[in-house]
């Protein structure tokens, strides 16, 4: 039976068919749906781990004990997991272990554009790159076999266009596997220097065997066509090449580390002109040029951003002339200004109140990764820095240490509940331990909102929807050693402002927890608010909230009733009492 699946759904299915028993992850676009879908299968344990490092550690534990494990994360998540990853390469596995790295060329939803094939090479583990959902499923299964065959973790690298595009997939049954026998083997799994020295030799030896495998596996294949031009490519880019240039010969690499050197040289020999078409880094190209081959790669194609079929065709025509691209229609450029439409905090978003107050108080704000990062945009403009998951608190400490306590009187770190658990907590320990006075604001909207509302240790539910113990952020902050902890509803603007002022003034660490449900999961729908044109003076104070439902109309404002969720925040800030509930008492 064929089913339309996204790459992510296909990977979850592949894991299930491969008899996987443990799936772990921290949510991150474009990898999130792998674990969401894996959690639907009863035969597999699945979890949202607090961060990617823990996810990989849980996965490796399962593998060593004898059960196949799938660990998924977005590209920047591998930075967090890099520590166990590099040593896991040394220990190898018992049952198969596959790490999915979902890269995001074009940065649709990411803070950078790194190419994680480099991680595969640096950690010396094989890297597989599927080109559509069918391959995503097939390669996942094969990756587990390779993992066990060569005693190594395997990286399955996808990109946004593989992860989030749907194509037809042939389904199969699950191969139920006995969990492998666990054997105590300290020389393999206890990486004290004496043991690790031996294991490094094993790793190098394994790489040689993997290189041979790369030459013979049908993960790598040639599609012969006109030999005037040959293209080496991998991942979704293969589909673009096939579409744009139906007449060229293609060497499609399903395995991009280690590379099949003989196969590539052979291919290069048989074509007149060799191109390497790869998104982001010249990963394949650097190897191939180091072997003395003459290629066009990044001299022709961009290093930055996503590649597109039309770019591939036009660049090749420019450098080579005749490569018979498929006929394309010339797009006609618009002659009109179209205003941009950036994402915004949703109507009723709990973070809006906080950023409104922070903007009003003109404090410096060290920010973090999540929906609330949108607080940096006009009109709220309340965030000064955003670096990576968990960076806000550390950044604020550094600012204080560099500029002194007076600067800290006007400085806060903001971080979401899930992000705080991910990797904010360790920096909060640092605040206390190293005597900073940082004010940390935890924006607790009771969910991991950015990635699509996943549970986390503060919500009281697991990925499978089972109730579990809920972490108490107040007790946690206190346990770390913060004595000043206050909880406030971010829509109580006066109270919130008072508390922020108090904690900024306090010359000691403090934590403010702003608590209100994410507007998208808040089920208590209220009737919308309306503006009384007679009472509205056109001061435009409410527009400062950046609520997408309020717009200027003539000299006054209007609320879009279809979108308004009735949170009432605009009524709070209106000085003329012109905004009130539709059908409310004072109507």
């Amino acid at each position: 039976m064929k089913k339309l699946l996204t790459g992510n759904e296909a990977i979850a299915r592949g894991a299930w068919e491969a008899g996987v028993v443990v799936c772990t992850a921290y949510p991150g676009t474009p990898s999130t749906e792998i674990t969401e879908n894996a959690a639907k299968y009863d035969e597999m344990y699945a979890e949202w781990s607090p961060n990617e490092k823990v996810a990989l550690e849980v996965g490796l534990g399962a593998s060593i004990a004898g059960g196949r494990a799938l660990v998924s994360m977005k590209h920047v998540g591998v930075n967090v997991a890099a520590d166990p990853l590099f040593t896991l390469s040394y220990t190898g596995v018992n049952a198969g272990l596959v790490l999915v790295s979902a890269d995001d060329p074009g940065m649709h939803s990411s803070q950078n554009e790194q190419d994680n094939r480099h991680f595969g090479r640096a950690a010396k583990i094989p890297v597989l790159e599927p080109a559509d959902s069918q391959e995503a499923k097939d390669f996942t299964k094969l990756a587990f076999d390779i993992s066990e065959m060569f005693d190594t973790p395997v990286m399955l690298r996808t990109t946004t266009r593989v992860a989030h595009s749907q194509s037809l997939v042939e389904l199969a049954d699950r191969e139920e596997k006995e969990t492998k026998e666990y054997q105590k083997n300290p020389s393999k799994y206890v990486m004290i220097p004496a043991n690790a020295r031996h294991r490094h030799v094993v790793v190098e030896d394994r790489l040689i065997k993997l290189k041979d495998y790369a030459e013979s596996t049908d993960l790598n294949r040639v599609e012969w066509n006109d030999t005037k031009m040959g293209v080496i490519t991998s991942g979704v880019t293969y589909q673009y090449v096939k579409e744009a240039l139906p007449e060229v010969s293609i060497l499609k690499l399903g395995m991009t580390f280690p590379l099949p050197r003989k196969m590539i040289i052979d291919f290069a020999d048989k074509v007149d002109q060799l191109y390497i078409v790869e998104e982001l880094e010249p990963f394949i190209e650097e190897y191939v040029t180091s072997w003395g081959l003459d290629v066009h790669g990044k001299d022709t194609f961009p290093l930055i951003g996503e590649l597109l079929p039309e770019t591939i065709a036009s660049k090749m025509v420019q450098t080579f002339g005749d490569c018979s691209p498929r006929e394309t229609t010339e797009p006609n450029q618009l002659q009109y200004e179209v205003p941009p439409r950036p994402p915004v905090l949703c109507p009723g978003c709990p973070h809006r109140g906080l950023f409104y107050v922070l903007n009003k108080l003109k404090v410096t704000v060290a920010g973090d990764i999540g929906c609330y990062t949108l607080g940096c945009l006009a009109p709220l403009k309340a965030i000064d820095t955003t670096i990576c998951m968990g960076a806000s608190i550390g950044t604020a400490i550094g600012m204080e240490k560099a500029k002194g306590k007076d600067f800290a009187r006007n400085l806060v770190a903001v971080i979401g509940d899930s992000t705080f658990i991910h990797s904010g907590i360790t920096a909060l320990v640092d605040v206390v331990y190293n005597k900073a006075t940082t004010t940390t604001i935890i924006l607790d909207n009771r969910i991991t909102a950015m990635t699509g509302h996943q549970h986390n240790p503060t919500t009281g539910f697991t990925v499978k929807g089972e109730p579990t113990k809920e972490i108490d952020l107040i007790l946690l902050a206190k346990a770390v050693g913060v004595e000043r902890v206050q909880v406030v509803d971010p829509f109580e603007l006066d109270e919130l402002e008072k508390i922020v002022r108090e904690e900024l003034a306090a010359e000691e660490p403090s934590v403010i927890i702003t608590q209100r449900n994410c507007a998208l999961i808040d089920k208590s729908r209220n009737s919308p608010y309306i503006v009384s044109a007679a009472a509205c003076t056109g001061c435009l104070r409410c527009l400062k909230l950046g609520c997408p439902c309020i717009a200027k109309e003539g000299k006054k404002v209007r609320i879009n009733l279809a979108q308004c969720v009735g949170c009432g925040l605009c009524a709070t800030v209106c000085p003329s009492e012109a905004i009130r509930k539709e059908g409310g008492a004072n109507d």
Partner: protein
């Protein structure tokens, strides 16, 4: 690969473009053709400009549509129709929901919402269909069903039989919303005339 049909569904994050693309892909699959869908998640869902791409035919390689090669654009909002217009073939068709949603730069006054969006589009392309999707959705019983109204319009335009669509909608939409959505689909289907 010239037998591929390229459809771009564009709108504002939260309008339900993804559901529409999934129903469309499901209907196409039932006709036995190859189909690929590409969508973007994350930031774009929060009120930003969103686009999903559906391609089908005998064999589809790339999941994304090259600029200038969309056969049809289904636009959930006027300004988005204009933004993505360069993707539409010269002789392509565009189906537009006549609804205006101001982007934040317009709300805060740093940008202008062009007043003559539909006129510009009509000048640029011949086949332009405009419907009041929101009005029809409200009539059907729920303003949130705009996406299914538009899907009904698109369905009528494509050569896939009606029953196939209804079957896919039954499978995709949660049962408590089914009735409203079937009505919404019908409203979209009936508002097509040329």
């Amino acid at each position: 690969m010239t037998d591929i049909t390229n459809i771009l569904i564009v709108g504002v994050g939260g309008q339900g473009t993804i559901l529409a693309s999934r129903v469309l892909a499901g209907a196409v699959q039932m006709t036995g053709q190859d189909v690929k869908v590409s969508e973007i998640h994350g930031m774009a869902q929060r009120g930003g400009s969103v686009v999903t791409q559906v391609r089908y035919g005998k064999e589809v390689a790339s999941p994304i549509i090259p600029e200038g090669e969309a056969d049809i654009i289904l636009a959930f909002e006027k300004l988005e129709a204009l933004r993505w217009l360069p993707y539409l073939k010269k002789d392509g068709s565009i189906l537009i929901n006549d609804q205006r949603i101001d982007p934040m730069p317009v709300v805060v006054g740093t940008a202008q919402y062009p007043s003559d969006v539909l006129d510009i589009i009509k000048k640029e392309r011949k086949e332009v269909f405009i419907i009041n999707g929101l009005g029809k959705a409200v009539e059907a019983g729920n303003g949130k069903a705009v996406n299914v109204v538009l899907l009904g319009l698109l369905a009528r335009y494509l050569k896939i039989d009606k029953q196939t669509w209804l079957d896919v909608i039954r499978e995709t939409v949660p049962s408590k919303l089914l009735e409203v959505n079937l009505k919404a689909f019908e409203a979209g289907w009936n508002s097509f005339d040329r």
